[in-house]
Symmetry: D3
Subunit: 136 residues, 6 copies
């Protein structure tokens, strides 16, 4: 059977602030610029979740509705309309950069994919900035 990659795009809106605890206010400001703004800012994030696998007799690698429900249950319900610095247990102690966020989302999802295997996440922070992670 042929091997195909299937992707579901989901979205969430969240606040965050980039700030390293071990650095001074001046170092944080120099390092993160406006992203260090003390009272948070926020984004409309878009997340592409890609699963690779053989096409089954159903014509599916896996049901993308099932994949969407999974991503909602283990990722979006915790992130959407939340503050990534303050509200999310599995981001505690993590600087919520897009890089760190995509890695933590991967860890939440990778063992739970019901069929096929997670091969790529793409996370858009703005229409001009995005990151990709494949578990390496």
């Amino acid at each position: 059977m042929p091997t195909v990659r299937v992707t579901r795009r989901v979205h969430f809106s969240a606040a965050h602030r980039l700030h390293a605890e071990g650095l001074s206010a001046e170092e944080n400001a120099r390092l993160y610029g406006l992203c260090n703004s003390p009272n948070f800012h926020g984004h409309n994030y878009e997340l592409d979740v890609t699963v690779e696998g053989e096409v089954e007799d159903t014509g599916y690698v896996l049901d993308l509705g099932e994949l969407r429900d999974l991503v909602e249950a283990v990722v979006l319900n915790d992130l959407d309309h939340r503050n990534l610095n303050e509200d999310v247990a599995w981001l505690e102690g993590v600087i919520p950069s897009t890089e760190n966020l995509v890695v933590r989302i991967w860890e939440r999802l990778v063992e739970q994919i019901p069929r096929g295997r997670l091969v790529r996440l793409v996370l858009w922070e703005t229409p001009r900035n995005y990151v990709e992670y494949s578990g390496d």
Copy 2:
């Protein structure tokens, strides 16, 4: 000379929370749902600024670069990477809904347009929600 509408689209990223001071926690939660989340959430906003006027000999109604600089100076520098509830003097006491925000942006801009007249603002909060205001 023909009358043309010219538009410059700009963007900013900000955090906000919808919360009415005079209402109880329960009323706020029922009224605003997830948008009342206590530690803020955020969006990538897109703003279309439209000026109408006669086309001058230059071929311009007004220089859109000049318009962009004006919008940056009187609107974006205050909003981008900020918290709309806490950081913006001209939003103090305002519930930062998209509706209230577009009206306050109008008030900041309407007297300052160097040529032609401001006729429409369109403010996108997400790719699925937007508001329009024409000063009425």
Copy 3:
């Protein structure tokens, strides 16, 4: 209080065929071209629903979540993943062109808007074709 227009964008996927009962096969083919293809074709439609009204103390003209639920209940549940020629009671006997469709959607919605008034529908059939209706 200022008057603002607020818009919610929703989407649905449907099959349809353009065919006039009173015309011959040849006339239908000449009039509608590929859109007359006998076994139907289909589109991902996008619909912008715009309501105009005064901004209330809540900062809302109306709750866009409430508007989305209304549009789902009286429009999308009947259209999404359906055949516009065969499956929709309120399109019976209507040639399901984008023009006719937007007018019938207006009639379904106009009396039901809970606050403010419906002022515009924009219906996209493809990224290159769209129609607008304001009840005239």
Copy 4:
């Protein structure tokens, strides 16, 4: 019969330069900035052509395929992959700003619309700049 607005979006790619014959090199540079660059630059333009009219028994205001063919014949064939300063007879002597361009396109189209009436053109020069004209 209800009155509906129907739109066809088309695109073309062209080179241009903004330069006023009566002004000095310094005045042109100050007025137009990079757009005065001597060897031209260029854009992917998008043009939305909107026709308003009553919906006929066919379900159409007018056939959008017919509208596209008309726009190709009287506008796009002259503009696509051309230099707006040098190659287009009906732009001779015109500073090819987006404002001037949308007015000249209107003049080319307004008398030729086979059914309904041309009510709006929207011309995008970039994803962040666009102009609208309604014949006023």
Copy 5:
């Protein structure tokens, strides 16, 4: 000579229905949900066709206009404004899921690419769902 990947994006609109012949009506409904709706639904599909090869003296890997003509001749002419379950000889007996569709399109194209080699197809069913295939 450097090796570059070049892509042409094309689109088509089609109707389809997901239904497995060997399963009961109940099993089909549970498996495919709304996609099993009996009278079909439809989509605006976008297809990215990517060819990899060395850049020739012309500056091209291959002429993307030539590639577009090929894709029209062997794929789009059969699919656009058609019913994927009923109208397409090379989809007979195939459940027209996006996964199965992208594999069949690959088989139609892979031997016919005039220069370079087909390395990836991306097929969008909606703006939120897409599949990729590389011939594995």
Copy 6:
């Protein structure tokens, strides 16, 4: 530390013409079609610059603002609002196809990335045509 790919999307507008010096006018016209139009045409280009590396303690692979400044300094300042055939020293003698352009941009950037390594460029000439290069 996990390895993540981070991308910054930038844009520029430029004029160009495809023309091979060693070929006759007829051969050039046949080979390049409208792209051989003598007085140039132009495009709004979008460029995605992707850097891969380990996520540092800051949460960054590299600061995308720093990456944007680098791309502006060594690529965009030379290309934006310019003629690719006439104005760019590092394109002299190069047929400015999208393929050749992406390779020359790679050469400008690859040694200058301050952290991580350049792994992919995607260059869009129109919303329907794009090329990718990874240094092979």
